[in-house]
Subunit: 197 residues, 2 copies
DNA sequence: TAAAAGTCTTAAACTAGTTCATTTTTTTTC
DNA sequence: GAAAAAAAATGAACTAGTTTAAGACTTTTA
């Protein structure tokens, strides 16, 4: 069958871990919602109960919390072919602490909690897909949770640049500072220093 | 059937997410290896390819890396009813960067990579078990990966004490410092300060 | 149970990263 | 394409956390 580009990208993402029949592909796609977000608009805000888990087909978004002083802490940047959302609020149905804002015009495919549950009943293979997807994410978050406490800000910056070169060029220095966990002023100093070397 | 205490603890852990028949329980248990580690002995060391994922039935272990200066960074403490290991090395079969050392005499149940793969074929329900287990771990590591960059050392200490009171009392201040990401000297200052309040 | 090894505390000098204030540069908007 | 808004750069004064060193306390081992 002939799928749209966005669906092709998703199906190719899923086929990394499981094989679907034509019928299963169509069933899966029927469970998804298409969502568009303009630059600077929110996909979701703190206080809301997360309705969807998202797959990004186009654009770039930042996922962040605000601390008591109102300072943002970015927990991830999501671009094409990435999954994002607030898994905690999605699962527990409790209000989220996260904001998700588009830093570019973005297009996403969302799966609602009802359809997520239905998916496992209709196509049990998806248990395996999510088992592997979560396993891989877990491995990278376990590593990342150590970076914050064991590397200097400069090392974290170099690490990010090396791992996500395609993201660095699409975000502001200020947002990168909020991800690395430092002030924009110190981020500026680090970049000046690194470029001088 | 009458199971040993260690097997009962594991089966009760598993039954949080899936229901097993008697036959499945017996099959599952037959895939496990019993392991004992004396205090101060290593369960595994950096450079090795991880053979097992572990469930702790007794004791306490620390999972850590050493940086270029030889300073330890503890990524988790594992006690009874916890799962541990190096998931990355276990899955990729590449050498691990982690050390796992018993801080008390410990007893564990290990599942080898071959038996882990076999488990999914023999009892497909385990895909769901691990999907949920990894999902929950992922949620807590996503949260934790922000702590290191967004909280002060004192806040991280209070957070740890609140979340894991039963662990604080079983580990040294020095190890706690290596987990929080600060020097033992500064850990000492924080504790003095917090107790004074 | 004495000696040795490891842990904890305290303090002074230091450094990585922050805060605040100002100017320059870039991007957005009408 | 000019005006406004946001981002980036620079610097001086500050603070959270490190380093080094030494003594007190606790646990382990022979």
């Amino acid at each position: 069958m002939n799928y749209k580009e966005s669906h092709k990208l998703l199906l190719s993402n899923v086929s990394r871990f499981i094989n679907l029949t034509e019928l299963e592909k169509q069933k899966y796609i029927s469970l998804l919602t298409e969502i568009k977000v303009k630059k600077k608009d929110f996909l979701m805000q703190a206080g809301e109960i997360t309705k969807y888990e998202y797959f990004i087909t186009k654009g770039c978004l930042k996922v962040y919390t605000l601390d008591e002083e109102g300072a943002p802490h970015i927990s991830m940047f999501a671009i094409e072919d990435y999954w994002t959302g607030d898994l905690s609020s999605f699962m527990t149905k409790e209000p989220s602490r996260y904001y998700i804002k588009a830093t570019e015009h973005s297009e996403l495919l969302g799966i609602s909690r009802e359809n997520y549950d239905l998916l496992f009943r209709e196509i049990p293979k998806f248990e395996q897909f999510y088992r592997i997807l979560y396993q891989k994410s877990l491995i990278s978050y376990i590593r990342r949770s150590n970076y914050g406490i064991s590397l200097t800000a400069e090392e974290r910056y170099l690490e990010f640049k090396k791992k996500y070169p395609q993201i660095v060029s699409r975000i502001t220095q200020k947002d990168l500072a909020a991800y690395i966990g430092i002030t924009p002023e110190f981020m500026s100093k680090i970049i000046t220093k690194v470029n001088r070397m």
